[in-house]
């Protein structure tokens, strides 16, 4: 199915929406609400299971540790889910997510450079607040530059962008390992802890900071959601319908960058999480309204991260890391998406 066709279909759907008195439409609304409700319920169940499964020894200690882990999982899942879905809409592509564009690798590079210039002791003593702010600032700057370049030229081959993004990612990886090899073994060990996305070592102060930032980011998305429904129809349609296309896109991108910075700075690289979550949400929620989609995507994100970490941490006893599993599943899924694509 070509993009044009799918856009036309969506446009007709929007048109049919205008007469939303039909019984079918009401049934669809109910189904969306039920789906979202079920997702919410499942997320709550997953969180409860994560907190209470097989607690041995001190209950207080376990609760403290696990609630921090679950907190970070929720923040990461929700921010990745919401930001990836909105990004897909703006880019007009189902295979483009922020982290595919080299964000994760940049995060590692920033960490390495900080350790490289200040040494691991300073890095550890710096405090989580400043460390997060530096990371977030760099990611924000990079993100805005990247997006400006991405949307600066009207007709760009999206696949080219994805490919360039991935190569930029591996370029950053090379630079990271270049820098890390010049480090002392101690500094290198510190870095190693940061390299593998791990939910076991989340700092409570950091969690509060990022949770606050992500709530602000999510709230900033709310007024944009209605416009995004129209942006989804493409530039021409959106302008014809009187939506300030460029302003909506720029504002959304700012929020997306912030959310991505939060999740990446919190747990490090998770390349394909956004891709899986956003596409899953689009498949199970029969809606084109971004209010439904973003909430759904955030819930799917929470469900994926919490349930995934539950399996990896509790059932497999940390025999692997969640990021490896996500890369495996996400990579296969991404290939399938690409193979099916005739045109983007």
């Amino acid at each position: 199915m070509t993009l044009l066709e799918s856009r036309r279909q969506r446009a007709t759907r929007v048109a049919s929406d205008a007469e939303h008195t039909s019984a079918e439409e009401r049934r669809r609304r109910t189904r969306i609400r039920v789906t979202l409700g079920v997702l919410g319920l499942l997320s709550v169940l997953a969180v409860t299971a994560y907190l209470t499964y097989d607690v041995r020894g001190s209950w207080d200690y376990a609760m403290d540790l696990r609630s921090r882990q679950v907190g970070s999982l929720i923040v990461v899942g929700a921010t990745v889910g919401a930001s990836s879905l909105v990004f897909q809409t703006i880019a007009g592509s189902r295979i483009l997510t922020p982290s595919v564009m080299g964000f994760d690798a940049l995060y590692l590079l920033v960490q390495t450079v900080i350790v490289f210039f200040f040494g691991s002791t300073t890095f550890m003593l710096m405090g989580v607040g400043p460390r997060f702010l530096i990371n977030a600032a760099v990611l924000l700057v990079f993100g805005m530059l990247l997006f400006r370049w991405l949307f600066g030229r009207s007709s760009r081959n999206l696949l080219v962008l994805v490919l360039v993004g991935i190569v930029i990612g591996s370029l950053f990886n090379s630079l990271t390992s270049l820098a890390s090899r010049v480090l002392s073994p101690n500094d290198f060990l510190t870095l190693q802890d940061v390299m593998f996305a791990s939910f076991n070592t989340v700092d409570a102060d950091l969690l509060w900071i990022v949770a606050a930032v992500s709530v602000v980011g999510m709230l900033a998305l709310v007024p944009l959601l209605r416009y995004l429904d129209v942006v989804d129809l493409g530039f021409d349609a959106a302008v014809a319908l009187g939506v300030p296309y460029h302003r909506v896109v720029t504002l959304s991108l700012g929020v997306i960058t912030l959310l991505v910075a939060v999740s990446t700075a919190l747990v490090g690289p998770m390349l394909f999480l956004g891709l899986i979550v956003a596409n899953l949400a689009r498949q199970i929620i029969p809606s084109h309204r971004h209010t439904d989609l973003v909430i759904g995507s955030a819930l799917v994100g929470v469900l994926c991260t919490v349930a995934g970490q539950f399996v990896v941490g509790h059932l497999l006893d940390n025999g692997t890391t969640l990021s490896v599993v996500v890369n495996l599943v996400g990579g296969i899924y991404f290939i399938l998406l690409l193979m099916r694509t005739v045109r983007l």
Binding site: S155, N157, L163, V167, L171, N327, F334, I335, L338, T341
Partner: protein, 338 residues
């Protein structure tokens, strides 16, 4: 842009083609560079000493520096030639051992060998790595048949992702068995551990390279498609498998002996072809020379930057190669803008 038959606008302005002078020039530059590189290292052996070495200097040269130089030249040349052959077989400029899962499959093979055969000999590791590399490349070629949209960019993306999936499987297994550190060694190509007695299997690539050269034209023909090749009286399957084996052996042997070198097989053939045209028989020797020279330059840089310590060649090649790769992508996108 992806089919080798398209004449490139930039190429019509040049006289194009490879002349003997190019080969001699390339070989000469490489020879001088190789000679000078023998003087670089932790213990000082002057460039002049090379002509009349003292016993100690001679010992350093024969056990460490000359083997290292040979390993660099062989690895650089063979990965580049492997990339060139793959690009011809698939008729796609964005295919290469390091971007289509061949290298990652070889690393998985080394992991399997390490797990099931303990501290095995180099030869056993190599055998298993070659088998997995062939299997991994074959799977990729099968995937290529099924892609709806055979644009170079899509193929490159699928290849990179496929390599990523294989790497994730390898990481998954290695994490379970506590072999992550080893993984780092295999995936990061470096010549620092090359000594006399530890690199000789690399000579295999010379034999395979000659086979590759003999069949070079036929690889180009099967790149035109199965029916086309059959019409010209070629046994498509047989040539395909010969190419597959040549490429996999080259990649696997290099990965086992020195580790993976990213983007090398992709950028070197592309740049050489851009400069000197598409005649594979003529381009192949120059690709080998250019690849050897590029790796030599990266290795010398790695030895000089934080002297007396070393940076692995893979990180430097990865940084330079990444930039060149991005340039190639943007260049091709301009040519085939949608």
């Amino acid at each position: 842009m992806t089919a080798p038959t398209t004449t490139h606008p930039a190429r019509t302005t040049r006289s194009g083609g490879v002349r003997p002078v190019h080969l001699w020039l390339g070989a000469g530059v490489l020879a001088v560079g190789s000679y000078l590189s023998l003087g670089v290292g932790a213990s000082s052996v002057g460039v002049v000493d090379l002509l009349n070495p003292s016993p100690e200097a001679w010992h350093i040269l024969t056990t460490s520096r000359i083997p290292r130089l040979i390993a660099i030249l062989l690895a650089g040349a063979s990965l580049s030639v492997a990339g060139l052959i793959m690009q011809r077989i698939t008729a796609n400029r964005f295919v290469s051992p390091s971007t289509s899962g061949t290298v990652e499959a070889a690393v998985l093979g080394i992991l399997i060998a390490t797990m099931f055969f303990g501290g095995t000999s180099l030869i056993v590791k190599m055998g298993i790595a070659i088998v997995t590399a062939i299997a991994g490349t074959l799977i990729f070629l099968q995937m290529l048949q099924r892609i709806q949209h055979r644009e170079g960019i899509v193929v490159a993306l699928v290849g990179l992702m496929y390599g990523g999936v294989l790497a994730a499987i390898t990481t998954f297994v290695a994490y379970q068995r506590d072999l992550i550190q080893y993984l780092d060694i295999w995936t990061t190509g470096s010549f620092s551990s090359v000594l006399e007695g530890r690199y000789e299997p690399l000579y295999i690539v010379l034999v395979v390279g000659i086979i590759g050269y003999v069949f070079a034209d036929k690889f180009t023909v099967i790149g035109m498609g199965e029916s086309f090749a059959t019409n010209l009286g070629l046994n498509y399957q047989r040539i395909l498998y010969i190419g597959l084996i040549v490429v996999s052996v080259m990649a696997a042997v290099v990965v086992v002996v020195v580790g993976a070198i990213p983007f090398l097989g992709l950028i070197v053939p592309n740049v050489v072809t851009l400069l000197l045209g598409d005649n594979i028989k003529k381009v192949l020797p120059l690709t080998a020379l250019a690849g050897a020279g590029f790796v030599l330059a990266c290795d010398v840089a790695g030895r000089v930057i934080i002297h007396p310590y070393e940076l692995p060649v893979a990180t430097i090649a990865g940084a330079i190669g990444g930039v060149v790769f991005i340039w190639l992508i943007l260049r091709s996108a301009k040519g085939a803008s949608v």
